[in-house]
């Protein structure tokens, strides 16, 4: 499974990257919204974990572009800080699948990713079905 992590904090970005690589996923990283969109154009990920506030394009703009164009079936999880309830609501309106509030647990985030992918698999997304099944 290919996971795109878009986060402007290098520590969180590297932590998520290292953690999901250890989990057996292919991880693409982007430290701002523009880079994230470029990465998506190059290779469509299965899951996107994105921060709300990022340089160039916010996480909300990324969600809007993905859901309007590239692939509506990409799983999108939003990383939000405390007090960003309005942004989270907007993210859900745009088509985000889930959100996690900082500080977040890596284990919990991983579980959410797996659960959402499972749901997508059930709904019949053929591209990464086999990978997901083996991973799960």
């Amino acid at each position: 499974m290919v996971i795109l992590v878009a986060e402007d904090d290098p520590l969180i970005l590297m932590t998520l990257e290292t953690y999901f690589i250890k989990e057996g996923h292919e991880v693409i990283t982007a430290n701002n919204g523009r880079e994230a969109l470029m990465q998506i154009e190059e290779k469509v990920p299965d899951v996107i974990i994105t921060d709300v506030m990022m340089p160039f394009y916010s996480g909300l703009e990324i969600i809007a572009r993905i859901k309007n164009g590239v692939n509506k079936k990409i799983v999108v999880i939003v990383l939000s800080a405390l007090g960003q309830e309005r942004a989270v609501k907007e993210a859900f309106d745009l088509g985000a699948d889930d959100y996690v509030t900082k500080p977040f647990s890596l284990v919990e985030l991983s579980m959410r990713v797996k659960r959402l992918v499972k749901i997508k698999v059930r709904n019949g997304v053929p591209e990464f079905m086999e990978n997901v099944q083996t991973t799960l």
Binding site: D9, L11, M14, T15, Y19, K22, P103, S105, L106, V107
Partner: protein, 618 residues
């Protein structure tokens, strides 16, 4: 790798060095340039002073001395113009074009000998036009004194002025036999005064057609290379013998040390341009060098930060990182391990750990805390508390609080009454962060007021603490610190400490209107069956702002017993109070609403309008 780890202050020092070097070079160059000027001035060259007559132009004067009009104008720092020359005098340079040591004359040239006088202390020597020829030379008169006797023994030919043929009627050659023909060689003793002279033919007076021309020769010291500067600047080119000449771009420069021959404007501009170019070059080199070094260091710093971050994440995400000594897990990167000995790198690691602690919770989040302790970074944070810089102290407190160093609370407590507001606020926040409501015991010793922002921050932090931990606050309500009383009232109201009702009512007797206002709002949160009546009793003695607050609160907590009071308020003169009372009545239920409607209809304007206003708002 050792070059990677350069201290962060190094580039500042380097920049200072470069700047000092640049300034030194610029000042050296400037002084050198000035010295050059002096040197040139101290080595003047031959020139003569021409007294402008009649309608002479630069061109006509230039032709006379085999120069162009532009050359003459430039040499005198004047703008060239093809009209009568305005200045009374012009300085004419004697250079290779119009002056030679030998007697060899070109075609259409006439030679005029130039003399020098050894031992003469006079600066200007004037040939009188009607002077008589003596046996040994010419009769020279200066200040009406005959100088012939001096010249007999000391007059020496220095060279020959080449004049144009057109001036033949004005100048004529001098019989060489009449004077000594000793040509000076070598460097002349500076004490010797040398006066170069252009000799004017005594027969000049016989020329009636040309205006009388007077030539006064300026004293000059001749050295062995009298016209050195002609090699630097291009020799002006005479296009034709006519007046029209090609304007040259760079004027010849002939330095001089007298008032008659200042450094030319072109020379000055040229020198200034050179100095500016040198300064600009130095600055550009210095800036580029500084930027290159800075960029290099930034790249190295980024690499180092990335390496340290990678190490940290490996440690955090490794399951058995903390089963053994942390140092053993760092052995895979000896370089990074060494870097932790540096203060700046340790601070970077602290910042990263705190960032991780803030953003990641759970098992891996706890690993940040463990790593913080294993690397003994808590000692770094504690050391900051002893710093004289308030910023460091505040940062140290913040780090200890986020990393939950409860045993450091006494040290943090010492900063509660710090003279710096930021340190105080961090200390208060840290204590509340570390022990929730228990941290509020700092209120008992606080000597400074708590800002509104800090009150909101503390209440926000306490909102997640269990209410059962709230300490007894009634002593704080009698504190002389007004902000402390207000904060306590807000705490009581926020966490609904109903047992404090009577204590809060006592606060309505405070002199401060703000304290009474906060107490009214606090009582609204913890009200009982007596609260509204207490408010009504206080109403008459309160300020307008608090009266409005009382009416509003009675509208929320009152019942039908208080409608009479609200109807009385409706009869008051204050329109705001009337509207507030009308709203309070409309909020108190149907019966109060009917009473309000009846009252408004009965009393007409403005009550009917108030009633419509209140109803439309509802």
């Amino acid at each position: 790798m050792s070059s990677v780890f350069i201290s962060s202050n190094g580039h500042k020092r380097l920049f200072a060095k470069i700047l000092c070097t640049a300034l030194f070079c610029v000042s050296f160059y400037a002084s050198f340039s000035q010295k050059g000027l002096k040197s040139n001035n101290s080595k003047p060259h031959l020139h003569l002073r021409h007294v402008v007559q009649g309608k002479e132009t630069f061109n006509s004067i230039g032709r006379l001395y085999r120069l162009t009009g532009e050359e003459v104008a430039d040499y005198n720092n004047l703008e060239y113009y093809n009209a009568a020359v305005l200045p009374k005098y012009l300085t004419i340079p004697l250079n290779k074009k119009n002056y030679s040591k030998g007697k060899k004359a070109g075609s259409n040239e006439i030679l005029v000998p130039v003399f020098r006088v050894n031992g003469s202390s006079e600066r200007i020597v004037q040939f009188k036009k009607n002077s008589k020829r003596t046996a040994s030379g010419f009769s020279l008169i200066y200040n009406n004194n005959r100088l012939v006797s001096k010249f007999d023994s000391k007059l020496v030919i220095d060279g020959f002025l080449h004049t144009s043929k057109t001036s033949q009627t004005v100048f004529t050659t001098i019989p060489i036999d009449d004077v000594k023909t000793t040509i000076p060689t070598g460097i002349v003793n500076p004490k010797q005064e040398l006066v170069p002279l252009a000799k004017v033919d005594p027969n000049i007076n016989t020329s009636n057609e040309a205006p009388p021309r007077k030539i006064i020769l300026q004293q000059a010291v001749i050295d062995s290379v009298p016209i050195a500067h002609t090699a630097v600047t291009p020799t002006p080119k005479i296009v034709s013998s006519s007046i029209k000449t090609e304007r040259k771009k760079v004027a010849p420069t002939y330095p001089d040390n007298t008032a008659y021959r200042p450094v030319s404007r072109v020379d000055k501009v040229y020198l200034l341009v050179k100095i500016q170019i040198v300064i600009c070059a130095f600055l550009v080199v210095a800036i580029f060098t500084y930027m290159a070094i800075k960029n290099r260091r930034e790249v190295f710093k980024k690499r180092l930060d990335g390496s340290l971050r990678t190490l940290l994440i490996r440690e955090i995400l490794t399951e058995d990182s903390f089963t053994d000594n942390i140092n053993s897990s760092l052995t895979f990167s000896e370089i990074l391990k060494k870097q932790l000995q540096k203060k700046s790198n340790r601070q970077f690691v602290i910042n990263e750990i705190i960032n991780g602690r803030k953003n990641i919770k759970g098992r891996f989040g706890d690993n940040f805390l463990r790593l913080y302790l294993k690397l003994r970074l808590d000692q770094d944070s504690s050391t900051k508390l002893k710093s004289k810089n308030w910023n460091n102290v505040a940062k140290g407190i913040q780090e200890l609080a986020i990393m939950e160093q409860h045993h450091k609370m006494p040290e943090i407590f010492n900063e509660i009454n710090s003279s710096n507001e930021h340190v105080r606020m961090e200390a208060q926040t840290a204590l509340v962060h570390l022990s929730g409501f228990g941290g509020l015991w700092f209120l008992n010793v606080l000597n400074y007021p708590i800002s509104e922002w800090q009150q909101m921050r503390l209440i926000s932090m306490l909102s997640s603490s269990p209410v059962s931990d709230i300490p007894d606050l009634h002593l704080l309500l009698s504190s002389p610190n007004e902000s402390l009383v207000i904060f306590t009232l807000r705490l009581i109201g926020q966490f609904q400490q109903r047992s404090m009702h009577n204590e809060v009512v006592k606060c309505l007797r405070y002199k401060s209107e703000k304290v009474r206002f906060v107490a009214l709002r606090c009582l609204k949160e913890i009200y009982n069956q007596h609260t509204a009546n207490i408010f009504i009793r206080r109403f008459a003695n309160e300020t307008r702002r608090n009266k409005i607050t009382i009416v509003k609160i009675i509208g929320e907590i009152g019942n039908e017993e208080h409608t009479d009071f609200l109807l009385e308020v409706l009869a008051l003169y204050d329109d705001t109070l009337k509207i507030t009372a009308a709203r309070a009545l409309s909020n108190m239920g149907n019966n109060a609403g009917y009473l309000l409607e009846e009252y408004c209809i009965t009393h007409g304007d403005p009550y009917s309008k108030i009633f419509l206003h209140v109803k439309s708002a509802v």
